[in-house]
Structures are given as structure tokens and as C-alpha cells.
């Protein structure tokens, strides 16, 4: 049976118990096995990959490609559809640039994003649309930050060719109906780019069951190291797309006049890859696979519920989001009359880490009529006690900022 108590010791920063870490949507802590896999790599078999046949390089290459295979299995796809990037942001920029430069979106075409996007899945499309004279439509959320399937299909039926959207919003933790969205898009032959940065760490994502054309996520949000992420794509489109970055590894033959490119996935991996990162991420995935996942998800869901209910009972706290089970692991809130920075600073003094600010989701926050919020985000190693400590600290905030109650 899964229990957070059984895994906390695997995480050096969590284990000390010094900090209630509730900023998991920003980045997760790493288990020792991931940290050790990085050390082991540098201490035992560090080498550049794909380029040499001495034993060290063979071992590095083998491990790098085994990491790709591991991640491919995790997502239920073939290895050559897994492209390693620096993170979700690069993955989305890669597919956006390739699509625009490859002419899959042309002047006069339409595409859409949602207002719930992280800037990383909003600004690339916005800026490239401007550059290439493509029209960008916006799928709106409800006042609670949810998007029902009808809102998606309505925009789809305006003749868009591509839809980029998040499976789970990072500002509010709202899980979108991504299965239905991808199905509806495929029926209409609309390309889908699914931002899985928040989704993949929490839901078992099988790419071809969902039916998205592209999926992007970051390693550091699913127990892996920083500097590594994944773009998973549909093979026929990847084959059609031009490369994004150019350099070593991704070429076939280079003459002064012309270059031909390598096969998938190397065509999209220019330069020395982050071997360490790939190995660390594969280790993280292995760790996650060894956990009874359904139970872990249920655990996080029940913590989310406890947090939502607890916050709702504090009169001077305002909560954003639907507040039901469409909301997972992330809760955004404000203390009335107090700026979120001050709340976060106060919580920090109580050894509780939450994030305050716009969470790289300004359009969504503006849509809700706020500039900033506090965000508590949970992961599998968090406990009821973590949630309760946050709630207690919030109740006691009046001792430092007495006007909080007076504003009521």
C-alpha cells in the first residue's frame, strides 16, 4: 500500500522535516536514487554519446538510449518519437518554430490556445503568429478556470488548424477534458499540442490513447533533474517537420551547399545532449513506476480536498478554481487585504514553502480579476500534517498582520 511516510526518507530535502515543501508545481524534490544516478554517471561513465566506440562512450550511449526507451514505454510510444529537450519550454518552442518554419501554419491560417496557459505555451504561439501572420484565437475559461469541451469545439469550428492547450493548468490545478478535446480535434483534423508539464507528473499519460499529436513536459517537475524535458510527437508529422536547432548529431551529410538531416529522433536533437539529465529523468520515471500509482494519486487527491476544505473554513481566505475534483494538487488563494508576497514570506518564516506571484499565467489571473495569488502545490511525499501546518499558519497570520481580520 502506498503511504507518503514510506517514501519521505527517499528525498533528502523532505526527510529532514525542516520544511513543509508545497511548491511542487514549480519543481519537485529529487529522490536519492536520481541524485545518485547523476553522480554515478559522472564518476563512472561520463562520455559524449553516439560519437565514439571506446567503452566509456559505448556505456554512456547505451544508458542515454535506454533512458529514451524507458520514457517511451512510460508514455506508450516508440523510442524514435521521444525527443530530449531542456524542458517543456524548449519542447513547445521546438514544435512551434518547426510548424511555422515548415509552413504547416501559413499566413491567413488560424490556430488557438487557451487563456489558462502557462506563458511557455502562450507566448511562443502569440509571437510566432504575429511574425507569420497567423490568427491566434483564445479559448476562454469559466470564472472558475475550467474549460468545458463545448468551449473547445466552438473555437475548433472556427476553422483553426492547430490547438495548443494544457492538460492541467499550473495556476489553478484545473484538469481539462483533454481526452475529449484531442478526440474532437482529431475528428476535425486539427493538430494538437498538449502541454503536459503539470499533467504528466500526476496522471498516467498514454500518448496514443489520448490522441494528441504532440506532448511536452519537464523532467524537474516529475522528480527528475533540471535541464531535461521531452517532446513526444506523431511520427508522420515529425518526419515532415524541418529541424528547429542545427548542429552536431542532427545531421546526415554536410556540404558547403547543403545539409541533409539525421533520422528521428536525432533530427531534432542538435548538439551534445544532456546525457546526465536523460539518465536522471529515466531514474525518476523508474521511481514513479515502482510506486502504486493509483494509490499515490488518490493520496494527492485527498490532500487536495483537505486543503480546499480547510482553506474554505478560514473566513479571510479567498480561493480560486472550481474547488471540486476537477482540481488536482494545486490550490491558488489569497488572504484578503494582504499581498500574496507577504503571505508567502510569513509562511516561509513558519517553514512552509508556497509560491506567490502570477505563476507565469498572467492571462489566466487577469481573467480572474487578480494580479497575483499564493499557490500551494502538493506531491506524493506530502502528508496530511503538511496540509494542516499550512492551514494552522494561515489561521495565525493575524498575529503578524492584525488588519487582516479588521478588513473583514
Amino acid at each position: 500500500m502506498f503511504s507518503p511516510e514510506n517514501i519521505r526518507d527517499d528525498f533528502p530535502i523532505i526527510k529532514t522535516g525542516e520544511l513543509v515543501y508545497l511548491d511542487n508545481a514549480a519543481t519537485t524534490q529529487k529522490p536519492s536514487c536520481v541524485i545518485n544516478s547523476i553522480c554515478e554517471y559522472y564518476e563512472k561513465y561520463n562520455a559524449n554519446v553516439h560519437r565514439s566506440n571506446y567503452s566509456l562512450a559505448e556505456k554512456a550511449t547505451e544508458n542515454y538510449e535506454r533512458a529514451r526507451k524507458k520514457i517511451a514505454n512510460f508514455l506508450g510510444v516508440e523510442e524514435d518519437r521521444i525527443i530530449f529537450t531542456r524542458g517543456a519550454t524548449e519542447a513547445i518552442n521546438l514544435v512551434a518554430y518547426s510548424i511555422f518554419l515548415g509552413g504547416l501554419l501559413q499566413p491567413g491560417d488560424k490556430m488557438a490556445v487557451t487563456i489558462a496557459e502557462h506563458h511557455s505555451n502562450f507566448v511562443p504561439w502569440q509571437q510566432l503568429c504575429k511574425k507569420f501572420e497567423v490568427e491566434m484565437r483564445i479559448v476562454d475559461t469559466t470564472d472558475e478556470g475550467y474549460i468545458p469541451i463545448e468551449s473547445f469545439t466552438e473555437v475548433m469550428d472556427e476553422g483553426i488548424k492547430l490547438l495548443a492547450f494544457t492538460g492541467m493548468s499550473n495556476s489553478l490545478g484545473v484538469v481539462m477534458p483533454y481526452h475529449e478535446v484531442c478526440k474532437a480535434a482529431r475528428e476535425r483534423e486539427i493538430l494538437t499540442v498538449l502541454d503536459g508539464a503539470q499533467l504528466v507528473p500526476h496522471h498516467r499519460v498514454k500518448v496514443d490513447e489520448i490522441g494528441c499529436d504532440f506532448l511536452a513536459f519537464s523532467g524537474h517537475k516529475i522528480l527528475g533533474p533540471m535541464g531535461i524535458g521531452v517532446l513526444c510527437g506523431r511520427r508522420d508529422i515529425l518526419e515532415k517537420l524541418p529541424p528547429f536547432m542545427y548542429g552536431g548529431e542532427m545531421i546526415d551529410k554536410v556540404t558547403i551547399e547543403e545539409t541533409t538531416f539525421n533520422v528521428l529522433p536525432y533530427k531534432f536533437e542538435a548538439g551534445t545532449p544532456n546525457v546526465e539529465g536523460a539518465i536522471g529523468l529515466a531514474k525518476a520515471i523508474e521511481y514513479v513506476e515502482n510506486i502504486e500509482w493509483n494509490d499515490a494519486v488518490k493520496h494527492v487527491m485527498s490532500l487536495t480536498k483537505r486543503l480546499l476544505e480547510g482553506l474554505a473554513s478560514i473566513e479571510f481566505v479567498e480561493i480560486y478554481g472550481p474547488g471540486d475534483d476537477r482540481q488536482h494538487s494545486i490550490v491558488s488563494f489569497n488572504v484578503k487585504g494582504l499581498h500574496p508576497h507577504d503571505v508567502a514570506q510569513y509562511l516561509s518564516s513558519r517553514k512552509i514553502a508556497v509560491r506567490s506571484g502570477h505563476h507565469c499565467a498572467q492571462p489566466q489571473l487577469r481573467r480572474l480579476g487578480i494580479k497575483a495569488s499564493c499557490r500551494a502545490s502538493l506531491y506524493i511525499y506530502n502528508t496530511k500534517d503538511d496540509v494542516d501546518r499550512l492551514l494552522r499558519a494561515l489561521e495565525e497570520i493575524v498575529t503578524v498582520f492584525p488588519w487582516v481580520m479588521r478588513n473583514e
Binding site: 500574496p340 508576497h341 507577504d342 518564516s349 506567490s356 506571484g357 494580479k371 497575483a372 503578524v400
Partner: protein, 143 residues
Amino acid sequence: MSNLDELYRDMLLEFYMDTSHKGELKESEHREGKNISCGDEVTLYMKHDGDRIIKASFTGDGCVVSQASASVMAHLLEGKTLEEARRLILNFISFMKGDTEDISEELKIFEGVKQFPSRVKCATLAWHTALELIEDIMKKKGN
């Protein structure tokens, strides 16, 4: 005193609560400032007779530190010559950067902010904005 108490000293909270310098100033010069990393915005208003600052005020949303700092600054600037104001501001910015310890008593309440690097920007936002405004005024005068 805990770190937090040092940050939010009573005096600082008093300046935060003191809204006497909050609000727009009609027929004044103004300038907007922004802290990109957290999105805080402040607009600073100033009335002057070409030499001396007669009135100062601010509007904007922000954390306790940024609001208190704007409030105390508006307080202190009134009655100062532009050059005196300029020097006061530069002194405060140096102080917050840790470049000097020499600072007037009422500004010592920001001492505790220094241990939180991400908050130093909150404390200096209004001051940087005021500096730009004053230097603008002086330049125009010079011409």
C-alpha cells in the same frame, strides 16, 4: 526578534497603514515603476516649485514592504530640494544594497529586509522610480 519580526517591524507596518500619502496628485508630474519579477507596480506623483519638492504621493498595489517604503519615502521627500532628495534616494539604495551602513534613523526599519534578497527590490521600487522622475525634472530644468 525572529527574522519575520525584523522584516515587518512595527514602524514599517505603521507606515504601511498610514495612507496619508496614498492617492493621485492633481497637476503634478508622475512616473510609473514596475518590479518585473513580482509584478508590483507603483506610480509616483510629485509637485515642485522647480527647486523644492512641495508634495509627493503614490498609488499602486504591492506588498507591505513596497507600500510602506513608498509611504515613508513620500513623507521624507516633501520639503527637500531636488538635489537633497536625489542624495537621500541614492543613500537609501546603497544602504539596501549593503554598500553603506550610514542611514537616517527612520529608514533603519528596512534593515531586516536585507536578509531577503528577493524583497530588496520591493523596498527600493518606489525609490528607483522617484530617482528617475527627479533626474528627469532636473534635466528639464537644466535645459
